[in-house]
Amino acid sequence: MFSNTLDNYAHNNNLNGMNTYFKVLFGIVTMLVSLISTSPVVPLIIALFMSILIVFIAKVSWKFYLKFFLFPFSFGLITFIFMAIFFGVGAHILELGIFNLAVTADGFNLGLLVFARMMGGFTCLAFLALTTPMTELFSVLRLIKIPQIVLEIAMLMYRYIFVFLDEAINMYHTQETRLGYSSLKKSFKSMGMLGSNLFIRTWMKGEQAFIAMESRCYDGSIKTMKKQGSIKTMGTRNLVLLVLFEVVLIMGVYFTGSFRIF
């Protein structure tokens, strides 16, 4: 069950044993560098670097990663195309020949930059999502003083996503057994029934969970054990490596800042 999910990869990958704070800091700082870059060069390098980390070092199945990557990639590509055509003024570099549409150098550069930043930012997040289990992220979130109520809701959501995923898969199978998805029209109907049924289930499960929690002296707030551990557990070596890496990237941003294809 759940073998090909993000969560499973987050729990079982080669970078699992690495310090959580290091991974979070690395992911976020690199993402920020990708965002402040004024040329597409550094973000694209970051995207490539992160992808290599995910597939070859963390050993996440490349098929899964490719599928995961495809959605933001296609979204980014569409953004790129639209920006290239509709944004910017000045000399045309390519006439489309219909409706007087044309690609301008300005628009092209802007589109490419946005696309590159998106890919850079996404791969950093993907690195975090694929190598760090949610359960460990919660302790980082607690450390940076995210409000307790937000954390509680996030924790409950995380747990119940899988409970309901399980139920939804079971329901889907029982519907499929009775040919609920044999035509498009039937599929829509079955899917609707599944959705509404699941909604009612969440209601009932919520009630059950509340009774079970009340039986264990629940008083309205979920208390959690403080995990010892702070940013310091990261180690000097990791910190130095991180700083060096980010400095190199920022220098890259500085030197390629005025780079334009057109």
């Binding site: 409950l156 059950q208 079970a212 929690m213 039986s215 002296c217 054990m225």
Partner: protein, 278 residues
């Protein structure tokens, strides 16, 4: 001494239907008590009275000789004393990791951090689930989830443990492990109350048995006494243990055996007697 005692408990749903009708239930301290009944007989409803989640419409409930008080502070103490393990462990396990879930109860009764940690460790050790601390519950098997749910209750150090269908949905090995664990806990001094409709496990583990059907207690006694009344068992939509059905073919004399080991013993005895006479 009766650690739980209910007197003429009636429970009505808001729509007026009676879920429990004049229930007189008592559990002797340090025993395994089984409540046997078909689906919808009111077993779970009765259990929710034991820790004050539901309040009887009429009748009284005594825990450890004292009537239950529904003051907030007293309820907290009661829930610590009486732990309920629910039928579906997915309803009970809500935290992202096993350790956090087991720690939930002890943290709610405001124990110091160190104490909570040692209790979590101890509880997981008692149910044989060490090494699973940081796992999310959805990667555990049914039996493992059940054991974690039991650990979550154990960590509160209850005197009474109430379990709703502890073996349902488990494979034979998982079910056996749970029952063995419950016997161990019982030997360590916890009174155990189990609702079940698995009649084959009843004579093996129970000291006292209740038969409940449609919100009414039909009979109380030792397994031998309860299963003697075949008519009643059938009326309650239950059946006799498998080995007892053999009685139709082999005559064991006056009372019939309820467990395989007992039947074996009796057969050996009978053949020995037979040889003696010839």
């Amino acid at each position: 001494m009766n650690i739980i005692e209910t007197k003429n408990i009636i429970y009505q749903y808001p729509d007026g239907t009676e879920a429990l009708k004049n229930v007189n239930f008592s559990a002797t301290k340090g025993k395994i008590v089984m409540l046997m009944g078909p689906n919808g007989a009111g077993k779970s409803t009765l259990f929710l009275h034991f820790n004050g989640i539901l309040r009887p419409t009429s009748g009284s409930l005594k825990i450890d000789g004292a009537p239950v008080s529904y003051q907030r502070q007293d309820l907290m103490k009661l829930r610590q004393k009486v732990g309920i393990v629910f039928q579906n462990p997915d309803d009970q396990l809500f935290a992202p990791t096993v350790a956090e879930d087991v720690a939930f109860g002890p943290l709610n009764i405001d124990l110091p951090e160190e104490e909570v940690k040692s209790r979590v460790k101890e509880a997981l050790k008692r149910v044989d689930m060490e090494g699973f601390e940081e796992r999310p519950p959805h990667y555990l098997s049914g039996g493992q989830k059940k054991r974690v749910a039991i650990a979550g209750i154990l960590a509160m150090r209850p005197e009474i443990m109430v379990l709703d269908e502890p073996t349902s949905g488990l494979d034979p090995k998982g079910a056996f492990q749970i029952m063995r664990l419950l016997c161990k806990l019982n030997r360590e001094g916890i009174t155990i109350i189990i609702a079940t409709h698995d009649v084959d496990i009843v004579p093996i583990y129970a000291h006292e048995v209740y038969v409940i059907s449609e919100g009414e207690i039909l009979k109380k006694g030792t397994p031998q006494e309860v299963f003697e009344d075949k008519e009643l068992i059938r009326k309650a939509n239950l059946r006799l243990p498998h080995i007892t059905h053999e009685e139709d073919q082999i005559s064991f004399g006056k009372s019939y055996p309820l467990t395989v080991s007992e039947a074996k013993k009796r057969i050996v005895e009978m053949t020995r007697d037979y040889k003696k006479f010839n």
